[in-house]
Amino acid sequence: MLEGATLAVGDGQFVSLVGPSGSGKSSLLRAVIGLQQPLKGTVEREVAPSDVAILFQDDALLPWKTARDNVALGLILNGVPRGEALAQADLWLERLGLAGFGHRFPRHLSGGQRKRVALAQVLAREPKLLLMDEPFASLDAIVRARIVQDVAALVDRERISVLLVTHDLEEAISLSDHIYLLSQGPRARVTRDYPTPLPRPRDPVRARMHAAFAPLYEKIWNDLSREVDRRP
């Protein structure tokens, strides 16, 4: 359970939240998008609820709809006419490297392709704030690196603010402007935060080779290890 978390995501900022399992990272995201109520405290959004999108770990596409219908659905539910929504869907599938895959059902796509469809679905709504809950954890290393590169590029281009929850420190550092560390639960709180000294826009794969990467990794790793060791 999460007890004290004060954090802010600035306009166009990429912010990551790391911490031990059970510290309430996912609950925090769910509270921001309104899937669950915080027991105490408030969530302040300067953007409308329809401008917030969330990407979960599982892709949760509707299995009975094709890729393009799945992407279009996010728009149709927000009042976009069907024809226009489908045109937008094709555009976003193409941006995510899935041109020609629109007619396929989720079952006939690979894990990486499904993740890209899910991304197209949330990005097509042109959110101002994108929440991501361990979005790439289920993918293998190369597929994952390529998707992370594409996400970084698209988020930069569309100037989307991001709050990413992850277990993966490398991913957090290579993508973020700012990283918050949650302490061990129960009664977890935000204990530390780290600005990342890497310039943006950046390629998250190349960012790992930046001189500032390793020292920051070591610092956060040590702090995180200490939190995990405090397990009661």
Binding site: P49, F56, D58, L62, G74, L77, R107
Partner: protein, 249 residues
């Protein structure tokens, strides 16, 4: 042995079996009262179609089975949805349905004959009750197991109640019903035939009971064969429909 040619070997085995049966019958080794020769069964079939008297029976059975199937599916879906959404309905319905599910429902056939007469209504009722209970449980348990992640996905994309029903619940229900369509078709024909067997003036079940009472085993076997073919054809059609509508799966 290639599994691709399994059907050829199966067909060959059947031909050998039929040939032995025919030969044994002609040699006088089988009592024709119990085991008529395949050629006699064939002749009975040819006679049924040749004289044209089979059509009225086929029509009666198909009508009873298909009407019962349609009504059973609709009632099963409606009750299943109501039960899943309204706790009071679930409370009252579940014990009744569980009881109906536990008993062999065909034992209700004599009751339906008393209530509804020997006409088509009692056959429809039996097919209906067989199908409705099956579909009720399919839908009732299905709705409770709708994937929460899909529900959250629609909600976070900005969808309301109606969007959930239209994009998650309805397609899920359709998928479960279609997944059980073959079983339901089998049940519907079971209901129609058993109903006719108990008391009727038309239908394949009636013809079977007539053949039995006159100790006409060639006719009996011909009708059993015919019912098998009919149900296999319907199964194939239902399978096609299922494959097309569930092509995403």
């Amino acid at each position: 042995m290639s599994p691709r040619h399994a059907w050829a070997r199966q067909l060959a085995a059947l031909a050998v079996f039929v040939a032995i049966w025919e030969t044994a019958g002609r040699a006088g080794l089988l009592n024709p009262l119990y085991a008529p020769r395949p050629s006699q069964i064939g002749a009975a079939l040819v006679d049924l179609f040749g004289s044209g008297r089979i059509w009225t029976h086929l029509e009666a059975t198909f009508t009873a089975a298909l009407v019962g199937l349609a009504l059973g599916i609709v009632a099963g879906i409606v009750l299943g949805v109501l039960g899943a959404l309204i706790p009071l309905v679930a409370e009252l319905l579940e014990p009744v349905m569980t009881l109906l599910n536990a008993i062999p429902r065909v034992i209700l056939a004599p009751l339906f004959v008393i209530w509804l007469g020997i006409g088509i209504a009692s056959k429809v009722a039996l097919a209906f009750i067989l199908v409705a209970v099956l579909i009720f449980f399919t839908v009732f348990t299905g709705i409770r197991q709708v994937d929460r992640r899909l529900v959250e996905r629609i909600v976070t994309l900005g969808g309301g109640r109606w969007a959930l029903v239209r994009h998650v619940y309805l397609p899920s229900v359709a998928a479960w019903v279609l997944g059980n369509l073959k079983v339901a078709v089998g049940f519907a024909f079971t209901g129609a035939c058993v109903g006719e067997f108990v008391a009727a003036s038309r239908g394949l079940g009636y013809l079977l009971s007539f053949a039995q009472s006159t100790f006409n085993s060639a006719l009996m076997m011909a009708i059993v064969l015919l019912i098998m073919v009919v149900v296999l054809v319907i199964f194939a059609l239902a399978g096609r429909l299922e494959k097309y509508l569930l092509r995403w799966n």
